[in-house]
C-alpha cells in the first residue's frame, strides 16, 4: 500500500484508528463522555470523505474511492454519529460501558463504509464481516438482559451460517470466473462455458447470505427477535445502516451484472414478492412496536429489491432515495423508543404507549410522523420513495410486482396506524412521565426535518444521487 492509497482510504482509517484510540483511552479513563468523542470522530470522518479528493480511484483492487463510495461513507458516518448521540442517556441509565460501546459503533460504521465501497468480492466479504462481527456484540450489550442474550445468540448462529454461505458462494464464483474483481468476475462467468453452472450455484449461495443480512423473506425469521432483544439505539443502527450498506454495495454489483441478470431475474422476483407478502401478513397481528417495525422492515427490503430487480439508473436512483428515506424514518422511530426508555423499562408493547400522546405530544407526534412516512403518506418523504419504486417497476415491465407493492402499501396503513391510535387514545397518569435529554431531541428534530424537507423538496437529493450513481 502506497501513501497515496492510504490517503484515499483516510475516512475509514480515521474511523478505525479513532475507535481504537477511544477504546484504549477508555481503559484508563472510563467515562460515558467518550460517546461524544465518538460523535466527533464520526463527523471528522464524514468531513474528510466529503471534502478531500482521493488520490487514486481504487485502493488495492478492493475498495473504490469514487463519489458513490464517498457519499455512503458520509451517510453512514452521519447515521452512526446520530445513533451515538441517541445512546448517551441510554448508556447512562442502563450502565453500559461508554468507551467500548462508542468504539464498537465506530468500527461498525467503518465496516459499513468499506462494504459500500467494495469493488471486489473479497472487499465485500471483509466489509460485511467487519460490521456483522460488531453487531454480534452490540446486540447482546446489556449483559444482564436475557432477551438481549437470546437475540445476540440468534444473530450469531444465523449470521455465522450466512457467512459460510457467502464465503462458499464467492469461492464458487471465483472458481468459475477466475477473478474476484467485480466487472471481470461477472464477465468471466459469461465465458466460463462448462463452469457456468458452478458460478450460478455460487450466486445462489450469495443470494442466501445477502437475503439473511438484509432479512428478505424467507430468510427473515431472526429479525423480530433480534430487534426486540437489542438495545433500542443499536436496533436503530442495525435496521438502517447494516441493511442499507448491503443494498448500497449491491447496486454497483447488479449494475455490473450484464447478461447474467436474466438468469437471476426469477429468483429476485420471487424474493421481492415473498418479502412484500410475508412481511405484510406477519406485521398485521403485532402488538409490539419493535416486532412490528422488524416485519415492516422486511416489507421495505422487498421494495428495495424491486428497485434492484428493475435495474437501470432510474430504478437504482429510486432505490437509493428509498433507502435514505427509510433510514431517517426508522432511525427516528427507534430514537423515540430510546428517549421513552427508563431505568429498567423500555416501552415496546402497544399497551405501554397508551396515552403517551398526551404526556409527550411532541415526541409522540414525531413517532406518528415517522410511521406515516414509512407507510407512504404525502407530504412525508416515504410517499415519494414508494412512488419512485412503483413507477420504476411499471416502466421496467414488472406490473405484477407493482400491483403487489401497491397492495402491500395499502395494507401497511393498518399496522402503522395501530400504534398511533394507541398513542393518542386515552389520558394517562402524569406520574408516568418519561424524560428524554437534549441530545435525543436534537437527533429527533434533525431526522424529522429530513423526513419533511425531503418530502416537500426532494430535487436536490435526487440530483445528487443521479450524479453519484456508477
Amino acid at each position: 500500500m502506497s501513501a497515496l492509497e492510504l490517503q484515499s482510504l483516510l475516512p475509514q482509517i480515521i474511523l478505525a484508528l479513532g475507535a481504537t484510540t477511544v477504546l484504549m483511552l477508555g481503559a484508563w479513563y472510563p467515562s460515558r463522555k467518550w460517546i461524544l468523542g465518538g460523535v466527533v470522530i464520526a463527523l471528522f470522518a464524514a468531513l474528510s470523505a466529503g471534502l478531500m479528493t482521493p488520490a487514486v480511484p481504487e485502493v488495492g483492487n478492493l475498495y473504490s474511492t469514487g463519489s458513490y463510495a464517498r457519499f455512503f461513507v458520509v451517510l453512514w458516518s452521519l447515521l452512526g454519529a446520530l445513533s451515538l448521540l441517541l445512546s448517551l442517556r441510554y448508556a447512562e441509565i442502563h450502565d453500559l460501558p461508554g468507551s467500548e460501546y462508542c468504539a464498537l459503533i465506530l468500527f461498525a460504521i467503518c465496516g459499513m463504509s468499506l462494504l459500500s465501497a467494495a469493488t471486489s468480492l473479497i472487499g465485500l466479504f471483509l466489509g460485511l464481516e467487519a460490521f456483522t462481527l460488531v453487531f454480534y456484540i452490540l446486540i447482546a450489550f446489556k449483559r444482564e438482559d436475557s432477551r438481549g442474550a437470546e437475540a445476540g445468540l440468534k444473530y450469531l448462529v444465523m449470521g455465522a451460517v450466512a457467512t459460510g454461505f457467502l464465503a462458499f458462494g464467492i469461492s464458487l464464483i471465483y472458481a468459475a470466473s477466475g477473478s474476484f474483481h467485480l466487472p471481470e468476475a461477472f464477465a468471466g462467468l459469461e465465458q466460463a462455458g462448462g463452469m457456468r453452472p458452478l458460478g450460478l450455484a455460487g450466486w445462489a449461495l450469495m443470494l442466501v447470505a445477502i437475503g439473511f443480512k438484509v432479512s428478505l423473506a424467507p430468510f427473515h425469521l431472526w429479525t423480530p427477535d433480534v430487534y426486540q432483544g437489542a438495545p433500542a439505539p443499536v436496533t436503530g443502527l442495525l435496521a438502517t445502516g447494516s441493511k442499507g450498506a448491503v443494498f448500497a454495495s449491491l447496486v454497483p454489483l447488479f449494475a455490473a451484472l450484464g447478461p447474467l441478470k436474466a438468469d437471476l431475474e426469477q429468483v429476485l422476483w420471487l424474493l421481492a414478492a415473498l418479502s412484500l407478502l410475508a412481511g405484510t401478513f406477519a406485521a398485521l397481528p403485532q402488538r409490539n412496536l419493535k416486532r412490528m417495525l422488524a416485519y415492516s422492515s422486511v416489507v421495505h427490503m422487498g421494495y428495495l429489491m424491486i428497485g434492484l430487480l428493475v435495474g437501470g439508473s432510474e430504478a437504482h436512483r429510486a432505490l437509493l432515495f428509498y433507502l435514505i428515506s427509510y433510514a431517517f424514518a426508522t432511525l427516528a422511530a427507534f430514537g423515540v423508543l430510546t428517549s421513552f426508555s427508563r431505568v429498567d423499562d423500555e416501552p415496546q408493547e402497544y399497551a405501554d404507549f397508551r396515552g403517551l400522546g398526551y404526556l409527550h405530544p411532541r415526541r409522540s407526534s414525531l413517532l406518528a410522523a415517522c410511521l406515516l412516512s414509512l407507510a407512504g403518506i404525502p407530504p412525508l418523504v416515504g410517499f415519494f420513495a414508494k412512488f419512485g419504486i412503483i413507477a420504476a417497476a411499471l416502466k421496467g415491465g414488472y406490473p405484477g410486482l407493482a400491483v403487489i407493492a401497491v397492495l402491500a402499501a395499502l395494507t401497511s396503513l393498518y399496522y402503522y396506524l395501530a400504534p398511533i391510535v394507541v398513542l393518542f387514545m386515552q389520558q394517562r397518569d402524569a406520574r408516568q412521565l418519561r424524560r428524554g435529554c437534549r441530545h435525543e431531541y436534537f437527533v429527533l428534530a434533525l431526522c424529522f426535518s429530513a423526513i419533511l424537507l425531503l418530502g416537500v423538496y426532494p430535487a436536490p437529493l435526487l440530483d445528487l444521487l443521479t450524479g453519484i450513481l456508477p
Binding site: 484504549m24 481503559a27 484508563w28
Partner: protein, 118 residues
C-alpha cells in the same frame, strides 16, 4: 467435463465401503471383553478426575482466546522471519502494523484485568 471427476467418485465409494467394512468386520470377528478401565475415557494415562460435562470458569475461555490470537501471530512470524531480508522495509512495516493491532488488543486486555486469575 464432468467425466474427469469419475475417478474421484470411485475413490469416495471405495473409501466409504472400506470404512464400513472395517467397522462391521471388527464387530463380528474381534473379541469383546469390556471392563471398567477399558471403557473409561483415555486421558493421557492419568486417572480420571471428574466428568468432562462440568461447567468451568469463564477465565479459561479468555485465556484460550488469547492463546489462539498469539498462536496465529507466531504462525505468521515464522515464515516472515525466513524471508525477512527479501521483503525489506515493506515487510517490516506491514508486520509492524499487524503486531501493533494485536498488541493494542493485548494491552487493553491486560489493563482491563482479564489476565488476573484471582
Amino acid at each position: 467435463m464432468l467425466e474427469n471427476y469419475l475417478p474421484i467418485l470411485v475413490l469416495v465409494g471405495i473409501a466409504f465401503a472400506f470404512a464400513v467394512a472395517v467397522v462391521i468386520l471388527s464387530r463380528l470377528v474381534g473379541p469383546n471383553k469390556p471392563n471398567d478401565i477399558k471403557l473409561a475415557p483415555y486421558e493421557c494415562g492419568m486417572p480420571l478426575l471428574s466428568s468432562a460435562r462440568d461447567r468451568f470458569s469463564i477465565k479459561f475461555y479468555i485465556v484460550a482466546v488469547t492463546f489462539i490470537v498469539f498462536d496465529i501471530e507466531v504462525a505468521f512470524l515464522y515464515p516472515w522471519a525466513v524471508v525477512f531480508k527479501q521483503l525489506g522495509w515493506y515487510g517490516a512495516v506491514t508486520m509492524g502494523i499487524f503486531l501493533f493491532v494485536l498488541i493494542v488488543g493485548f494491552v487493553y486486555e491486560w489493563k482491563k484485568g482479564a489476565l488476573e486469575w484471582e
